[in-house]
């Protein structure tokens, strides 16, 4: 590749939208810079010291009119660009419903990727072309940032928080993945590649991966091993909320808040049960802080998500 391309490859649905805004801003900026530089040049030459150009006095009123004029003009332009960019941002926020859900974990200095069927990758992510992919990301240590220039997406990967972004790749091929939040010694080596494949290749790739048993099944065995099933099954002696069919629903808490049962909330409940007590229950659950890893939380979450309203079996 030569170094003289001005735009990176447009390989996602977000890319052309971002580039359109970018080019518009380049155009506006260039126009303003040229205007200013041209005016300065013309004034500098015409009104150089000792030149014969006439210099009658400026009227106060003219000054005022000019000031109000360009203040209003600048404000209008700024608000116009804000309106446009703001609406583009809001329209791109939510991932489509049918998106493939990929879990990303940042760790000094590598990217750990988990596919919904349990396949794991390190520093690489294989995705099919023309399908939306939602990334649910967290970090094990410091803040990282997931940046794919060709997709024009970037989102920090923050410890203790789930952040999200999504993309829909439009070109097959391999793209850079960079960590853009400085994360320590080997920050510049925390890179990877996104491999976008057509559907057949992707299916073949999936088949070729060792099948590790899917996340939800692993989560189910953890659910028993950690003793969660002792309380969270419908007929247990200790009264704890049943988790069947609860994922994605609204939960009422004893302090009056209502929250959606999602990945971040499940994580919170496991690590900090006393912060989020469901209405009508006692704060009896112990904290699993320090006992479960982020990876295990991922599997537990996958299990809870997989539960239909019939309730956990055995």
């Amino acid at each position: 590749m030569s170094g003289f391309e001005l735009l990176p490859q447009q390989a996602s649905t977000q890319a052309p939208q971002t580039d359109l805004l970018y080019l518009f801003l380049v155009f506006v900026s260039a126009a303003i810079v040229i205007l200013i530089v041209l005016l300065m040049l013309v004034f500098s030459i015409r009104y150089r010291r000792g030149s014969a150009a006439p210099r009658p006095e400026l009227r106060m009123l003219t000054t005022r009119e000019f000031e109000i004029g360009w203040t209003a003009g600048a404000l209008f332009l700024a608000l116009f660009i804000f309106g446009w960019t703001g609406s583009v941002r809001l329209s791109m926020l939510a991932a489509p419903e049918n998106a493939i859900e990929i879990h990303v974990q940042g760790k000094q200095w590598m990217w750990k990727i988990q596919h919904p069927n349990g396949i794991r990758e390190i520093n690489a992510l294989h995705v099919p072309v023309n399908e939306p992919v939602r990334l649910i990301m967290t970090s094990e240590d410091v803040i990282h940032s997931f940046f794919v220039p060709a997709f024009r997406i970037k989102e920090d990967v923050v410890p203790g928080l789930y952040t999200q972004t999504w993309f829909k790749a439009t070109e097959t091929g391999s793209q850079h993945l960079f960590c853009t939040q400085f994360c320590g010694t080997q920050h510049s080596r925390m890179i990877g590649e996104i491999v976008v494949m057509n559907h057949d290749d992707y299916a073949r790739w999936l088949r070729e991966q060792p099948q590790p048993g899917d996340l939800a099944a692993e989560g189910a065995s953890l659910f028993k091993a950690l003793g969660c099933s002792g309380c969270h099954i419908g007929n247990s002696a200790i009264r704890a909320p049943s988790l069947a069919g609860i994922y994605g629903r609204l939960v009422h808490l004893s302090d009056g808040r209502t929250v959606t049962m999602d990945d971040a909330f499940i994580r919170d409940c496991i690590l900090e049960p006393r912060k989020n007590v469901p209405a009508g229950y006692d704060p009896k659950m112990p904290s699993f802080k320090g006992e479960v890893s982020d990876g295990e939380i991922l599997r537990l979450t996958a299990y809870i998500r997989s539960l239909k309203s019939t309730g956990p079996s055995g």
Partner: protein, 555 residues
């Protein structure tokens, strides 16, 4: 009116007034409460830190000529850019114009004998110096590898370097900023000479006033944030640590509450300098004085409301992001007003092109580019792509280096005769100014391109397709280094040469600082001047330059 004629208007006694530079002893310098001497002390330390920061930058640019990262180790590179950031932000840019030229000129421009609290002023220099020693110690004793932003939990739980010493140094130097801010505000409020009403203040004074507001309202938040970092790292008292339930984004809110306004600490003084220089060499009253004043104050105030645009991709709520985006677009308006007004000031002027003017015109161009690329960063979808890439690096260097450092050099050349009583070789100065403009663009424009192509900042190992632009940038940096070094050489040389004695008012400028001797006497004015007119009374209609000093009564 010529220089000599202006000289007649002054109460000039037969005997030459003693200059503030006439030194009794070395100790008298270290215990001085004279604002002019303190300015010189600051000039020495700031220059020293500029050289330290530039040295780090030279190594960084050298390393980046090769994509394999094979010249410096990972650690060395990380420590160097942290050092470059910390030193350049807190020990060069922030004290540069306010503490050197603000200190020197503010009392002179408003017709006062000194700042309001001279001993506090000296204390501020010592605080800055001691803070600098801590940072240098941190550098020698292992270095710091967190970046100048000290993001948690990296800085508190993971980094190996000497974070505490650096944080202590910045904490201490923060109080020097606060002391300067308090001093300037009190001075402007209480010590204006007779007739110096608020709307007769030169714009440089207004800029110092605005920047002081930022000093006293933003710096304490940085101080407390550093205290929290130290508590977390040293005593294990977590506030931001996610492993203990803390929120690392809270750190970013607090940090940028200071550090975004800190950008305005760096640019507002530059705007003040450029307003003085352009009016003087265009022989023109500044276009739209009141709008210039209000836009300075508006930038200082609205600048506090926009910090969230550093956090669009941080995991902050996207709706908060939209709010911050809106305010960030609004803060562009007063900056635009200033650019238009500087340009319009040239209209119907009597423009000459001495070196300060060349630096100032360069400033307007570079600041315009820097300001406009700021719009890209306020536009969230574009910011998502360019955040933490070289685009950002290029943007803020256009503001801080193209803007502030150009203005610093403009100020240096403009007021050098007043500060030292010496002139300098004008053609060398013009050459340096032009070289700087081209060297700067050569260095930083390629970084816009490589940034949009996706090269992240703080990478020393990078994909080979970015090498061409990085090498261009490093080449430009060596030109730029030459352009920065040149004035330091010839200006220092004039100090030791008797032939370059400067007249009191070499540019025929109207400000009060030019109506006293060069260099000024210890007490600034033999008798305090009274002010009779607005600043920049250069010429109203005249075909020839016809300046009237501020302390000259109307005929």
């Amino acid at each position: 009116m010529t220089d000599a004629a202006i000289g007649q208007g002054m109460p000039k006694a037969a005997e030459e007034p003693r200059s503030y530079l006439d030194t009794e002893s070395f100790v008298s310098w270290l215990t001085t409460t004279d604002h002019k001497r303190i300015a010189v002390l600051y000039a020495i330390t700031v220059t020293f830190f500029f050289l330290v920061g530039s040295g780090a930058m030279a190594l960084i640019r050298y390393e980046l000529t090769s994509p394999q990262g094979n010249i410096l180790s990972d650690e060395a590179y990380n420590r160097l850019f942290t050092l470059h950031g910390v030193v350049m932000v807190w020990f060069f840019l922030i004290p540069s114009i306010p503490a050197i030229f603000g200190n020197f000129l503010l009392p002179l421009m408003i017709g006062a004998r000194d700042v309001a609290f001279p001993r506090l002023n000296l204390a501020s220099w010592y605080l800055n110096f001691i803070g600098g020693l801590f940072v240098l110690y941190a550098l020698l004793a292992g270095g710091v590898d967190t970046g100048w932003t000290f993001y948690t939990p990296l800085s508190t739980m993971f980094a190996n370097g000497n974070v505490i010493a650096a944080a202590v140094g910045i904490f201490i130097t923060g109080f020097s900023s606060i002391a300067t801010g308090i001093n300037f505000i009190a001075t402007v409020h209480l010590l204006r000479t007779e007739g110096m009403t608020w709307f007769r203040l030169p714009l440089f004074v207004w800029a110092m006033y605005a920047v002081s507001l930022v000093f006293i309202l933003a710096t304490p938040v940085l101080a407390i944030t550093l205290v929290l970092i130290m508590a977390e790292r040293l005593f294990g008292l977590p506030v931001f640590d996610p492993a203990n339930g803390g929120d690392p984004l809270l750190f970013q809110h607090l940090f940028w509450f200071y550090s975004h306004p800190a950008v305005y600490i760096m640019i507002l003084p530059a705007m003040g300098v450029v307003s003085e220089v352009i009016t003087c060499f265009a022989r023109r009253q500044v276009f739209g004085y009141t709008f210039m004043v209000f836009s300075l104050v508006a930038i200082a105030i609205i600048g506090f409301f926009v910090w969230g645009h550093h956090m669009f991709v941080s995991g902050m709520s996207s709706y908060a992001g939209v709010v911050f985006s809106l305010i960030s677009f609004v803060v562009a308006v007063p900056s635009a007003i200033k650019v238009f007004n500087w340009t319009a000031t040239l209209y119907r002027g009597q423009i000459s092109f001495e070196s300060p003017m060349l630096y100032a015109l360069g400033f307007v161009g570079l600041f315009t580019v820097g300001g406009l690329t700021g719009l890209f960063l306020a536009a969230i979808p574009v910011d998502v792509h360019v955040h933490d890439t070289y685009f950002i690096i290029a943007h803020f260097h256009y503001i801080m280096v193209g803007g502030s450092v150009s203005a610093l050099y403009a100020a240096l050349h403009f007021w050098w005769p007043k500060v030292t009583g010496k002139l300098y070789p004008e053609n060398w100065a013009r050459f340096a100014a032009i070289l700087m403009f081209f060297g700067f663009n050569f260095t930083f424009f390629p970084q816009f391109l490589v940034g949009y192509l996706g090269m992240p900042r703080r990478y020393h190992v990078y994909p080979p397709e970015f090498q061409t632009l990085q090498v261009m940038s490093s080449t430009g940096a060596s030109v730029l280094a030459l352009a920065y070094a040149l004035p330091i050489v010839y200006l220092t040389w004039t100090l030791f040469n008797r032939d370059w004695k400067a007249p009191d008012n070499p540019w025929g400028a109207t400000g009060l600082e030019w109506q006293t001797s060069s260099p000024p006497p210890k007490e600034n004015f033999r008798a305090l001047p009274a002010v009779h007119s607005a600043p920049y009374h250069y010429h109203e209609t005249g075909e020839a330059p016809d300046p009237r000093a501020q302390d000259e009564a109307e005929q």
